[in-house]
Symmetry: C2
Subunit: 315 residues, 2 copies
């Protein structure tokens, strides 16, 4: 469940000069289930902190605790962090247990044959916590609303999700439950409102790509994310204007110089884009630039034939 929706990918950190075998095994395992995984030395922890759906640290827990302490801000902002010992035996959610770290640890332990060391009290078996709903449905609830959902799950009450096309395990799709979580800007009285975040699509394309190719690719990416509405579509391609019209959204065309740079959060440079445009990549940087300062990637670039698509959220 967690990895299936980890569109931003996972940062795998290691101590020492070269990544140990376990770091490479974690990377391969993630890639084998279609998740982007980038390996960094642990010195980059601060820079990758907000860039990925999760951080996997390969090494001793004592070391990572001292390094992550200065970065802690808030449960709602900090990424899920899982520590894995060098031999790959234990997967320990260190931070953000309810924000995905428990699931990330469990899924990695299953893929790699280790033990997930879950230490949160298991109040509700089988239901993803409300914090995860926000990631899954790209929306935000108030803290009090989150507590209300958690209490209902704990007490065994039925919780519905509305305004979405499917229900995660432990939830019922539709209305009529004791608690209804609605994805939307307008919610009925008594419902828990999960307000959609504002999304910006960025794309790159080969010179032979047509408007239809781009529109189709963007629709596939939005389908992956389970959303249909975005604020704007952005690119360095003049094609963007026509794509915007076809999708019925605002279009932004940047010059390569206008693109935001983001050495750590964006994917590694694409040699082609560097050569042709002098930028490390277009889709992610266009999405991030359109999302404005504080914007973050929610969907790492994905290639659909001639088109590359990425999605960023405004802060």
């Amino acid at each position: 469940m967690f990895l299936e929706l980890a569109w931003r990918g996972i940062a795998v950190l290691h101590t020492g000069r070269d990544p140990p075998e376990t770091a490479l095994r974690v990377k391969s395992a993630l890639e084998s289930v279609g998740v982007a995984a980038h390996v960094f030395p642990v010195a980059e922890l601060g820079r990758v902190w907000s860039c990925y759906d999760g951080i996997v640290y390969v090494g001793a827990i004592g070391g990572i605790v001292r390094l992550l302490c200065p970065l802690l801000r808030d449960k709602e902002l900090d990424p899920p962090v899982v520590a894995v010992d060098r031999s790959g035996r234990f997967f320990v959610p260190l931070l953000g247990g309810h924000w995905g770290a428990n699931e990330l640890a469990s899924e990695l332990a299953k893929l790699l044959g280790g033990v997930a060391v879950i230490t949160t009290a298991v109040e509700h078996v089988g239901a993803v916590p409300p914090e995860e709903l926000e990631r899954i449905f790209l929306c935000r609830m108030e803290r009090s609303a989150r507590l209300r959902v958690a209490a209902a799950l704990r007490d065994g009450a039925e919780v519905c999700v509305a305004g979405v096309s499917w229900a995660p395990p432990g939830y019922k799709l539709g209305e009529g439950c004791a608690v209804v979580v609605r994805r939307g800007h307008v919610c009925k009285e008594g419902e828990v409102c999960c307000r959609p975040v504002r999304l910006y699509v960025g794309f790159g394309a080969t010179s032979s790509a047509t408007v239809e190719d781009v529109v189709e690719a963007i629709k596939k990416a939005l389908g992956d994310l389970g959303v249909s509405k975005v604020e704007a579509v952005a690119s360095v391609k003049v094609l963007a204007s026509e794509v915007g019209r076809a999708l019925g959204v605002r279009a932004v065309v940047y010059t390569p110089e206008e693109l935001r740079t983001d050495e750590y959060c964006a994917s590694p440079p694409s040699p082609k884009a560097l050569e042709a445009l002098g930028v490390p990549g277009v889709a992610e940087l266009a999405a991030l630039t359109a999302a404005g300062p504080g914007g973050r990637l929610v969907y790492r670039k994905r290639v659909f034939g001639k088109v590359t698509v990425a999605v960023a959220a405004a802060p």
Copy 2:
């Protein structure tokens, strides 16, 4: 090994109003092997931080990481911290793996039937790390010396301990090894010097206790610690002067008002001492007062017949 020498005892912390069953089981298990265990709500974490040989936190790791971050100072000063999930399944060394947390987690897991989640690289099997030598032998080495010992152990070289009466597992007693760790103020060239900390004995006694009773009790306590030399003996008893003469050390006699108070590090108040002298206890507070500002308990009070003995170290 760790618990056998945990003279200051272990603080067991818990969330919520009442200690969960696992916290009480940890306390009983510790007491069953002769280790003092005190249970506190987690709000007291900051106050008990420097008072015990180790801290065991019962609850989810994510919570304790956020709480301990502001307290971190230095590997050499921070206590070993072990997290245990509420159901008592996993014992996770979070801080100070090489400073006792790995051993504490392993010993607790054995006592209580759980899994010790050791995540440090196991470079040397069976040998206690050099940091532990300092605790065991009440001495301090330079950081560089510690690294030298660790490297020797890792490379499979023989390491001797000298100036002490026994060798911990993985070390050889005596001289003639590639690396010799000597407990002493004067070390030979090439040896690793572990300089003894300055120790202060405090005692309390019933009115019928004789000088011989006190001397015998102090010798037993020093025997537990494996040391013979102390700086001074301290009490509110005038008897202290004679005890000092018998032991050949300086004696300090305090009035009850002169005793340092230490609500968090000292043991819970003794009703007898409170009634008779108006202080929560004599042995520990006299030792701490004699050790001066920054002094810390290294041997929690222990009763030997009519006499109670505690030992503190100067900073």
